[in-house]
């Protein structure tokens, strides 16, 4: 896969984000990478039920995507681009152009509206005329009754251009500028210790088996494992990663088992054995009295 086709993921202060809508959809639909949306939804920004871009990725997701060559980890060459005067001018020109284009669009819109309400407008005009005629009659003037028919030519009406303050502007979520980007995959060092290595191996193994994974912090585990897309299915398992050769405290063990039965999910203890194989053990509180 060439660099151009790869999905760009951005390393920003140690966190990894996807900024393009298309890319985040591709990651979910083709690569079963869920991530989590963390921004305000442009349509309804003041609610927490559905969030919008950016999509924040788990470190495991990032490492795997880089390993598979699906994505390219990048960061801008400079933290903040210093714009040149020409660029500022270009921005102002763009705003102006877009405004001018909108003037016509708003005019067309107004015309269409008038066309749509033509009979009402005519009715109103007629009423006004009638009243005037009545007034003239009372005053004793001679009136031509034929004046009652009103003809309106919409195309000839002058429509004032839309005010600048009413014109629409785009607020950029994804950066619209062509910035120089640095490939920085080498900076990405996850997993860097044994604990992280176990987590990563478990993540990858479960993912390879066709599961969808999200962070398991909601239930105090490492991952939540879904049989299909998390939007359509409930999670089956809570994956808890443990070192292969370390005793588990009994109270930890019990609390995991009881928690699992409470939320109706299977708790699986995951580890990597001596042969570098991922092993799974499930805990059940059997309730045999």
């Amino acid at each position: 896969m060439s660099d151009r086709c790869r999905i760009k993921i951005y390393l920003q202060n140690q966190n990894v984000f996807v900024w393009s809508a298309k890319d985040s959809v591709t990651l979910r639909e083709e690569w079963r990478i869920v991530g989590s949306l963390v921004g305000c939804l442009p349509r309804l920004p003041r609610q927490n039920n559905q969030l919008g871009l950016p999509l924040q990725l788990l470190p495991e997701e990032t490492t795997m995507l880089l390993e598979k060559g699906v994505c390219l980890l990048v960061k801008p060459k400079e933290n903040l681009l210093e714009p040149t005067p020409e660029q500022v001018k270009e921005h102002e020109q763009l705003r102006l152009d877009l405004y001018k284009e909108q003037i016509e669009l708003f005019k067309d819109e107004r015309r269409k509206e008038m066309m749509h309400n033509l009979h009402q407008i005519k009715e109103g005009k007629r009423k006004k005329l009638k009243e005037e005629i009545e007034r003239k009659k009372e005053a004793g003037e001679t009136v031509h009754e034929t004046d009652l028919d009103v003809e309106i030519d919409i195309d000839s009406i002058q429509i004032p251009p839309v005010a600048l303050k009413n014109s629409l502007v785009q607020l950029y979520t994804e950066s619209p500028y062509n910035e120089a980007l640095d490939e920085c995959g080498s900076e990405w060092s996850y997993p860097s210790n044994d604990k992280e290595a176990t987590r990563y191996k478990v993540f990858k193994d479960l993912w390879k088996k066709g599961h969808y994974l999200t962070s398991g912090s909601k239930f105090g585990g490492d991952f939540l494992v879904y049989p299909g897309d998390p939007a359509r299915f409930h999670s089956f398992y809570i994956a808890v990663c443990r070192p292969y050769k370390q005793q588990i405290s009994m109270s930890d063990f019990i609390s995991l088992a009881r928690m699992g039965s409470n939320v109706r999910k299977t708790v699986i203890l995951c580890s990597v054995d001596d042969n570098d194989q991922v092993v799974y053990t499930s805990i059940q509180w059997t309730g045999i009295a």
């Binding site: 951005y10 920003q12 202060n13 966190n15 900024w19 393009s20 809508a21 298309k22 985040s24 959809v25 979910r28 989590s36 949306l37 963390v38 921004g39 305000c40 939804l41 442009p42 349509r43 003041r46 927490n48 039920n49 559905q50 919008g52 950016p54 924040q56 788990l58 470190p59 960061k75 801008p76 933290n79 903040l80 660029q87 500022v88 921005h91 763009l94 877009l98 909108q102 303050k165 009413n166 629409l168 502007v169 785009q170 607020l171 950029y172 979520t173 950066s175 619209p176 500028y177 062509n178 992280e196 987590r199 912090s217 909601k218 299909g228 897309d229 939007a231 359509r232 299915f233 409930h234």
Partner: protein, 609 residues
Amino acid sequence: MTNNARMEQNTERRKSNLYNCEVLISAPELFKYRKQTDKFLPTVGGCKDFEPDGSWLQTKKLEKFYEERLELLSEQRVERYGNLVTGDWDPEKKLVQLHKELGKFWVYMGFVDKSRKWLYPEEALFLMETNTMEVMYKGLPLSIQQAYQCFFSTEVTLEQYQVYTHLRRLGYVLVRHQGRLNVTEYEKKIKLDQHLKSDKRKDKKEKVGKENESNEIKKMKQSNSAQELKPSEGASEETCDMEIVEETSIDESMEQTSFIKSVQETSPVDGGLNRIAGDLHDDIEINNDCTAQTKQIQNEQEIKTNKEAQYTKLTSDRVSHDNNTRLSEAGGDSPVIYISYKMKSRQKCLDSDLSVSFSQPFQSSMKNISTNQPPDWNFSEIIFPDIGKDKVLHFTKYNKNPQLFPQGVQLPDSCIFDSEKCNLNLTSNKHKKDEENFNLEYSIDPSQWKKKPVNAKNWKEYKEKSNLLENQEEATPVSHLWKGEVTPLVKPCYSSLDSVIEKLQVVKNSSFMSQIFRSSSLKDLQHKVIYDVYLPDSKFKKSSPGLPHHRLCVLRLCVLRHCEPLPDLQTITNLHHYYTDGIPLQWAVVDHGDIAFYGFTDIQIPDML
């Protein structure tokens, strides 16, 4: 609209070096966003299934969800130009300077420094995300992506912003932590904090939270406050009158509350304690080595009490007596002075509760008891009711024995004593007692509300008068000692050893709280309290936000490098006790965009024995 289509529409601008045309939208597409109407939220995938079974229905549902999701996510932020507020990003200060303020958000956000208006990065970013603001950098608008790149630092982390924006989206008002506000729980309960000016409080805000701020901002704020000072000096002459009035009104309201309380407490006891009241009153007067100050209070209260029925005298005097002793104790107890009102008389009332419920039916006759006692009590003849045996006692039984009752007293036929009810009353009273048993502390200097109101037209007159008043108050047998050039250090009003020591500065007092505060672990933890959270309120004022609804710490749950473990229990409890106002401290745990809130609460385990 797909990106390719966008590219085609922007053919003219394709040559541009500056813009990536996949992101830029054209005028016709912009125009499509003009209508505010269909701003509904599509459902998130609908009701979930158990497991994938490969059925046509499931596939269709998923397809529909993906379709909607793509549409929703590709939606752009478009706003009317006139609705936008603009600001400039200052990378050195890490702040956004507003060009002009507009709209409601200025009530909740930002601060002013010399006539310049600033926004913190989290505030600016939230406004960018809610389509209300455009932040420029040297003439070019910043995208949200760029803002994510450069707004965050050690001062504001991504996690903090995520918590901030999460709560702001829900409508809460978040202010950067203001440090301890030094309002006691009692003051909060009687809502005194809403009327007190913060500078009246003895121990001013310790601006711990503000230490987070970079020096740059601090300097700006300092210069600002210095500026503010100047005009206020000039204005002080006019305002001083008002302040005095305010002070006294607080005095009054406080005295009234304590007074009313005492009245409420004593009322059930009724006249039975009348005589004791008188005796006690004398006692107190003899024993008291009152200072001029406290005498004055007593006088005030006596005036009030005289107007009221006699029985209130007892408690009001007690209160004032309490005041005296505590005042003198507290006088030397700086820097932190808490006056604790322990209403001891309350205990007595409760103790006598049983007799109260007995006596209530014949209230009118009670006064006569003391004067007309039966000549002799032959207990072999008098049958006392057995409360333990019968649950409900009918007093009509005992009515036959007239000598048990004071002269001229007749029991009504329906006179019943229900022991169960009585027990219930007792227990409910007990609860009440527990509730009121905590310290009634004030965070303000007692001298503040003991001050006599001074009527003055201007500052000079006020000073003269108050000086005069002070001298008058100190009229003691040894007042001539203060007339010469050399005056004694200790005044007679310093009645306790503590206050004398304090005046002579022999031993500096240190309070327990400040000791906790000095411990380094807690000081570190201070920085963890990031935000003060307020409920949405139309009366909210940035300058005096009052007491927050809760305080917020942010913890990052994260496997990557900087995982923050939970601090030990000692630091957590210390931190909770450091805030005297009893406002809950919440802990936000952030894990890659997932936010959960947890709280620690002191729990009283009931004693079951």
